[in-house]
Symmetry: C2
Subunit: 278 residues, 2 copies
């Protein structure tokens, strides 16, 4: 990567943005975090679909797919492994929330090192906690990956290194997701995951897993999940675009086996997407 | 203002920040919007108190008051009127929500022109709407002026220029605030404003008005307010640090007089704080 840019702002090899950018001022934008393998951003179409969903919801003109694809390719060329983050904001404006006429979005692509998650996380499972910080319910901001992430920041501040992630509930006690991943459980052989309706992010890897479960004829339920459901589960696993599938072996005082459904899903997404993380 | 900086980032006369700043990445920071009059930021102590409350809540080391004061003075010198915005973020970090060890906050001070609100707004009142966009309830983020402002952006996008502001409720139907101001009503001679507990910003001018009401021996109730309470009110007014007090003359189909309590409050804050906006 010597002498090659690691950040592109609107196509330019710079690493700063205007202080009047609404991404900074209001978190007025969306982002994607994408695994890069042999110079190629993985699951590109799915990431772009969610980016566009989020931009549409916020009324931001998403940059053309071809433009982002070409900048991503330039940035990732030569990276055997890495993480590509794409931020799209509404752009710069004067003071005030009104955004009428603000039509020049800012795009920030940055490439960073592959995180040093231990290999045994995918193989032998992780330990997770339950966060006190709750997710506020607002369907207008649910499903999309917007830049208003203070709830995740506060939740992540509840532990240091002792857990791989933390479960977050909404203020009605529904399990929604973890700070950086979606969550699945297996109960009586059925795979279950929270519906993402009032809060939470509809993860790209979550969608991959749901598709894999259908292909593998695993019984599936997307709906309401409580902390008790997690405690009583046979298996639990976490998903995101970088980790793939991490089995959970411990949720506070409860221990879990890494069971057959989790292993089938891990195998399924590896076969379907060359997602070789084990 | 010729040849004088209008933006200071960590004391430097530049107008850009690092793309890895957590203010952009997560909205991980707080801000203040301060009226400037004859080179002086008004209500400085109150703004700093709220900035510190917000920074404390998020676990950000707020810059020292003396440092911000000296940079604000330098920036505002010579501005007969203007708006000083101070943004304090947690600073730059690597990827991921974890912020342990991130201890170098970013401060952005920017001076912009005084907004061209018509003078008659304060004298003759404004027309406001009721927003469909709701405020999600999360006490961890309530009261403080953090950088996660997508709800306000979405609410403000519901109208263009036909209203001066829009009322926002939480998802339980409680009136909380307007997109850029706090709201008060008068009912049977009593001044009432929503309690800021589960969502909303505890405005600096709201606090000034509450203090003024006590000094003026106006009966006061801070608690739950519904849209029906607004409809049935005798008087309504809005407050923020730039507008001071704007009487409301119309809320959708309901008309209001600009009554004696509103005028007393306007007079009271003018006397107490040289807040000469009429």
């Amino acid at each position: 990567m010597c002498a090659q840019a690691t950040t592109l702002v609107n196509g330019q090899a710079v690493s700063s943005i205007d202080v009047h950018d609404r991404g900074l001022q209001y978190g007025d934008g969306v982002f994607e975090t994408i695994a890069v393998h042999h110079g190629k951003p993985l699951l590109w179409e799915r990431h772009m679909a969610r980016l566009c969903l989020g931009a549409d919801r916020l009324g931001i003109n998403a940059p053309a797919d071809a433009l982002l694809r070409s900048e991503a390719s330039a940035l990732c060329a030569g990276a055997s492994r890495g993480v590509l983050k794409i931020v799209v904001t509404r752009g710069s404006s004067g003071r005030g929330y009104a955004a009428h006429g603000v039509s020049n979005p800012t795009r920030v692509l940055s490439l960073s090192a592959w995180p040093d998650y231990p290999h045994e996380f995918a193989r032998n499972g992780v330990s997770i906690c339950i966060c006190d910080t709750v997710l506020a319910r607002n369907p207008a901001l649910a499903r999309i990956k917007h830049l208003n992430r203070l709830e995740q920041v506060l939740a992540r501040a509840e532990w240091r290194t002792e857990y791989a992630d933390g479960v977050m509930c909404d203020d009605q006690g529904n399990v929604v997701e973890c700070t950086m991943s979606n969550i699945f459980l297996v109960s009586k052989g059925e795979l279950r995951t929270p519906e993402i309706f009032a809060c939470g992010v509809e993860g790209v890897m979550r969608a991959v897993v749901l598709d894999a479960a259908k292909q593998l004829n695993i019984r599936l339920q997307v709906g309401r999940i409580t902390i008790d459901d997690l405690r009583n589960a046979e298996e639990i696993f976490l998903t995101n675009s970088l980790i793939g599938v991490w089995p959970v072996r411990q949720l506070q005082d409860n221990d879990y086996v890494i069971g057959p459904v989790t292993r089938k899903i891990q195998q399924g997404i590896r076969d379907a997407h060359c997602f070789d993380r084990l």
